[in-house]
């Protein structure tokens, strides 16, 4: 390093400042801009500021007043428990279909091993991104309008959701593989499909299994509400009771959702641990 020129200290001491002209100005300017934007947003959205600050206290009050005590008898009713099973089935099918569909998409949209970087790569990317971009409830409404009420619409919506979710994680995983075996396969004259099957799949198999399990976990969370929009499962009960203002039942349903999601999370965590150990 060149430490030849030493500036004398005293003049620097008088002029040193943390704030430099252009850099600090940009930084504080953008910070100010963001703040102004946020405040303006609150104004634009007609948000009642005192209500906003009181809302969390209000939340506790509302829960205590309206949702307590939850009507637990309602959620242990066999009719309701059957919809819990329906929810489980939907999430499982949606996850399986989504995972299987997303594997080719992830292959296309992983830049390093994509079979065709000009055409299939952007196509795969676009497929995954649009599945991700549209919220699962919108997918549900769309499928309900095409396929009618029922679990088929729910499964289709969850499938789309899982394609978006797993596709992104899968392609990230593929893009991170060791390129050595890939190059070796290519050098041996393998076509892109053979390269994928022989050089990529063995490297990502375990990670894919973990992601697939995680996908089911996330799909289950989404499955609890697809029924709200006509896709079948426990969400439908939620909607009916919300509309009928049966708050104690709503409280019980929300509690049951939390319990189910916790169980699903526990199972998925355990399965992923098993899979990782089997590696």
């Amino acid at each position: 390093m060149t430490e030849l020129t030493k500036t004398p200290s005293t003049p620097v001491a008088e002029t040193w400042s943390r704030y430099r002209f252009p850099g600090s100005l940009y930084r504080f300017g953008s910070l100010l801009g963001v703040l102004v934007f946020l405040v303006y947003s609150l104004h634009f959205l007609n948000v009642d500021i005192p209500l906003l600050f009181g809302a969390l206290g209000g939340l506790v009050g509302v829960v205590a007043e309206r949702y307590y005590p939850p009507d637990l008898a309602y959620v242990t009713d066999p009719g309701y428990l059957a919809t819990v099973v329906d929810t489980l089935q939907m999430s499982f099918l949606g996850a399986i279909a989504g995972v299987f569909l997303s594997i080719p998409l992830a292959w296309f949209s992983a830049f390093n091993v994509s079979p065709n970087q000009r055409l299939l790569f952007p196509l795969g990317r676009f497929g995954v991104i649009s599945c991700r971009a549209i919220h699962e409830t919108i997918w549900t409404i769309l499928f309900v309008s095409i396929l009618g009420f029922g679990m088929l619409a729910g499964v289709s919506a969850l499938t789309m959701f899982c394609v978006g979710f797993a596709g992104k994680l899968f392609s990230d995983e593929i893009e991170a593989v060791d390129m050595g075996p890939v190059d070796a396969m290519r050098a041996a004259g393998a076509n892109p499909f053979q390269v994928f099957v022989f050089a990529v799949v063995p490297q990502v198999r375990v990670a894919f299994t973990g992601i697939a399990i995680y996908t089911w976990d996330v799909a289950f969370r989404a499955a609890t509400v697809v029924g709200f929009f006509g896709g079948g499962g426990m969400g439908w009960y939620l909607k009916r009771n919300v509309q009928q203002l049966e708050n104690l039942r709503v409280g019980a349903i929300i509690l049951s959702i939390i319990a189910m999601v916790l169980i699903a999370e526990f199972i998925s965590g355990w399965l992923r641990k098993v899979v990782n150990r089997a590696k």
């Binding site: 946020l38 947003s41 609150l42 634009f44 959205l45 007609n46 948000v47 009642d48 209500l51 906003l52 809302a55 209000g58 939340l59 009050g61 509302v62 829960v63 309206r66 099973v85 329906d86 089935q89 939907m90 499982f92 099918l93 399986i96 991104i129 649009s130 991700r132 971009a133 549209i134 919220h135 409830t137 919108i138 409404i141 769309l142 309008s145 095409i146 396929l147 009618g148 029922g150 679990m151 088929l152 729910g154 499964v155 969370r221 989404a222 609890t224 509400v225 709200f228 929009f229 079948g232 939620l238 919300v242 708050n247 709503v250 929300i254 959702i257 939390i258 999601v261 916790l262 999370e265």
Partner: protein
Amino acid sequence: MSATDSLAGSLNLQTGLRRKRQLRLALIWGLFILFTAWCVNGTIIEDTDWSRIGGRSGVLASFGRYIQLDLGLVSELILPTIETFMMACVGTVLGCFFSLPVAWLGAANVTPSRHILYPVGRFLMVLSRSVHEIVWALIFVSAVGLGALPGILAIAMRSVGFISKITAEAIENIDAKPVEAIRAVGGNQFQVMYYGILPQIYPVVLATVIFEWDINIRRSAVMGLVGAGGLGLLFFRQMNSFNYGGVTMVILAILLLIVLGEVISHYLRKAVI
């Protein structure tokens, strides 16, 4: 197989192990396929009224309704798009504020009480993530009425889980050395946090917040379905008035907004790191 069976004892053991593994694998796959079949039977075969869907032509016809775009809707799209974007931004920022205390409680090394408040912090993280944003929105609509506020609060609550979990993990993984140095110069609790901990965790936290913001745009686009305004409300209206071309327009607007969000977050992430 028969060739390996006839080999020496040690090899026999290996074959036995492999057999066992194959058997187990076959069992897992068998159960998997059975379970899938049960699910397919329950959801698709029993629950679906195929005659009402009307076969392939019926599906195609209902799908076709979506393709005729309603270009007249463009002018009506602008305000809700802005609303949706703002709701996501405000919700994310609010979520960050809620996350701070939760992360503080739920990080094992800085929590004020390991036996009482630490489990509370962890529980809040799980609670936030396990309740779907639609459910959060329903709760808040009943608490504060219709409008953007319940949407913002729902987004904030749903964001808390992920942001505070990652923040707590980052706090748990900090390098203790700068913390020790600040304690050694006589710094108080606040200075230890602000100089010792914060500089270490803020890149991770910011990246997480940007990631969450990106997701929150998607979430805020559906808040209108349960009464919180924005693109969701417009979507709902188009759907209810059977204006399928308009529905497609709303979806295109959502896509556009999300692509925009993706671009912005890409640059923000670069600026942070």
